[in-house]
Subunit: 569 residues, 2 copies
Amino acid sequence: MKVHLSQQNYHIGNFQLNREKILVEVEYAKSNGADLVVFSELSVCGYPARDFLEFEDFVVQCESTVQEIANRAVGIGVIVGAPTRNPIKEGKDLFNSALLLHEGKIIGQANKTLLPNYDVFDEYRYFEPAYQWKVVEFKGKRIALTICEDIWNLGDNPLYRICPMDELMKHSPDLMINISASPFDYDHDDDRKEVIRMNVLKYQLPMLYCNAVGSQTEIVFDGGSLVYAASGELKCELKYFEEDSCLIDSESLYPATPASDNFPIRVGKDMRVAKSSNPDQIINYLTNDHNIDQVKSALVLGVRDYFQKMGFTKAILGSSGGIDSAVALCIAVEALGAENVTAILMPSQFSSEHSVSDAIALSRALGNPYHVVPIADIYGSFMDALQPLFQKSPFGIAEENIQSRSRGNVLMAIANKYGYVLLNTSNKSELATGYGTLYGDMAGGLSIIGDLYKSQVYALARFINSKQPLIPEPILSKPPSAELRPNQKDSDSLPDYVVLDRILYLYIERRKGPQEIIQSGFDAALVMHVLKMVNVNEYKRNQFCPIIRVSTKAFGIGRRMPIVARYLS
Amino acid sequence: MKVHLSQQNYHIGNFQLNREKILVEVEYAKSNGADLVVFSELSVCGYPARDFLEFEDFVVQCESTVQEIANRAVGIGVIVGAPTRNPIKEGKDLFNSALLLHEGKIIGQANKTLLPNYDVFDEYRYFEPAYQWKVVEFKGKRIALTICEDIWNLGDNPLYRICPMDELMKHSPDLMINISASPFDYDHDDDRKEVIRMNVLKYQLPMLYCNAVGSQTEIVFDGGSLVYAASGELKCELKYFEEDSCLIDSESLYPATPASDNFPIRVGKDMRVAKSSNPDQIINYLTNDHNIDQVKSALVLGVRDYFQKMGFTKAILGSSGGIDSAVALCIAVEALGAENVTAILMPSQFSSEHSVSDAIALSRALGNPYHVVPIADIYGSFMDALQPLFQKSPFGIAEENIQSRSRGNVLMAIANKYGYVLLNTSNKSELATGYGTLYGDMAGGLSIIGDLYKSQVYALARFINSKQPLIPEPILSKPPSAELRPNQKDSDSLPDYVVLDRILYLYIERRKGPQEIIQSGFDAALVMHVLKMVNVNEYKRNQFCPIIRVSTKAFGIGRRMPIVARYLS
């Protein structure tokens, strides 16, 4: 049986577009002699459709799209992902299903058993877990058809009490097919391959694994679909961060070599936290070239898909002459084209001379348009209006924030005037500690580097410059500063980033408590101070825009903390 | 057996405070001769603790707090709610448990079976469902101990495939005790009583039901704990929206009258959507005095608890002379005291004369401090700075938003200067349609009336004035306007609120699709326009502050929509 795997980039709720993408590929696969074409999880509606799944109208549109695809599955089998109805009254109304379509009909169906409900995933909110299992038969093959998480319940500390592949093995399958929507993060680079290989070796069957690609608001699906022979040999690996497909003859995937193998990776619940926990190696781990290279691809795809799927072409951002806005600007220019990204330089009386000159040099190197809009007079008008209230109170946080919010207002005004989207340039270290101004530098529609610690922002800058020297050297070498008061430095308020980022990583990615972090070799008072900063600034992050997720634990939908609470705070 | 039910207001993660509250009540119950004292769901750590539950340190603190309470359960049994460890490796690591403490030990335990994972609930994110059931024995009584959702799986369309009370009945219990954290909404006023009575009549056993009280960021727990005799007779109903307790002799709750009874309410999955669906009655339903009275209590508690638990005392808000800020100000003053709520009036060149005079009259009636900060010069300074970019482009949305964001900046500056919290005054109709300015009138730390449609805001204003005439008549009678350009009216951009609110309610609370709404008697083009406005403004609401939730479907954590999508948009 010849199987065509197709990893595509879907648009959530855009049934017409998704259907057309799928149908074009079905015709292409057929013309190449494929017997079966496989698409990714929930391909019909896009993943994650979130609470759209609670709308009957949305589910009906999924069903009619499935039927339209089935009608075109003439002379070829088509596996798509779609929500389907739970036929019994007990339990939730929907399943997350893989459907085998052929000659106008649904001739096979598998429902997802293991519903991820951690981090960015909410599948148990919508779906009933499968409670019966059988193989799907096509062209004489008995296919163990599963959906994403279904094949991840291996190891001796599994997250679920049931293993659907064990159940399916009772029905003597010949072949495993898994359809997925499995997102990228730099911490799980090799896990996917290892998990699939573990399944192959455990069940002695070939596996065809079809992943989604494309960014959906904050979640980047990275593709990299895989085919393993029953022997455990990798036969095919599709591209990462772009659409791709391949045609495989399933007969080439046998026989199984009865291999035994060590399983070198963590499996089970541990997979849900980041890998590196040696405090001395964290910075090296976070900033190594392999990780940073992938992160860059994910960010470019994240920006590009946000604009394309939202129907925008032009972006604006505040370019301060600092490292964060420099890196964000480079990514935006790569994603959208230099002509589509306008940099706004907004010096105040507290800005250093080189801020403007460095930002101008950067935009000249990138070739993107830029404008200078000084804010000193705007700041003065606020101070005048507030004089009756503020009187002779000393310069402080309020005055700093007025500057930052004036910049936010200028940026949003230009964005509103010309239909641009404001890109945010905050980094994860700032967001974690609350070192940012709500409605000021925290404004924007999409955060490019909000899941990168400051150390990673520097690494990404160096990585970018290693390919082409775009970012002026002073931006890389000068000490970080918000420039909201004379001679201000980040280090006035925050620990050195190399120390800070390690503590943050242990707390956020590794979910270590204060005692564990202190025992890793950090000053106790500093650890308590950092953890308190993280926790008391939850209210700020709660109003922040979506962040392109590249780590195992990004701020946003995947990290849900109480705002009103008193814990480590 | 004498049972003391205690509904308390906990602080999430504040183990010391929660423990002391519980221990004081244990001593009080003991001094009143109680054999057993019952506290609400997850009382030890507060509900919902969200991702704090993923921290080992947090779980350890729950365990040590439980032990400290057990050590003081001398001569009395104590039932508390806490997370506990799943003893087997398979499945998630925690249960959501009710623990019976006595003489320093945990002598009984029930784990929650039915884990709500809809709307604001995420319990399957943290907990493994119970998979075995037994009664808890104390003082010769066999107690069927359950947790909140466990008793809600009745009716012929249940949300779960298992019914834990049916399992517990196999062990011949004498008595049902349920510990809950069940939030308020005006749509489910009577459901709780009916569900408990249905359980009592079905199982022919008395029920002691202990609910939490108090507001946790956006979720308001309303108390109203209940005791039903086995006959179905209501024996005790604790207060709503405040702490309360009662002592019940369980012997007074027998014998069961073998009553048969009609079950007049919806049960099963339908409970998750709002009740009223007759389009002609929606406005009457939303604005009736009974609902509005409860909503007002919930909002006052919501504001009060936010400040108290965050450690703030003083609030600031923008007072425009319009109905929304007037109602928000009345609620804030009732919650925090007039002296703690500062109103800022920020007229521009587009403000009408009466805006300022009406706002001043309101603050004089309420007795709260107010200040006037004109923003015309600030607006002018932005326009000057942007002149090189904007040139001769016509006045439009950008210029309107500059005014709104200048006000946001003024409010935040004062809040930052004096340590106040900015209260937001947006209503649900505006938030739904995107009729508001991000970082402008959408700024603030807590939204008071963001879950009230405009029709409900008017009803609440009339309700407030019916008790005491606080809101000046012109505020109630003048047509709503944002006053961001000459002679602007809300009705220039939006349908009449009476029509708009009905469409929004059908879409948001009832989750009706466009065809169903149109078939209810609304203009098709208008319905499509409104639904599109709701969907394309998801990015704005995503950056909005927490909204005190009073409906079955508030914007925020309980409504999770894709931002990048194309569905009805």
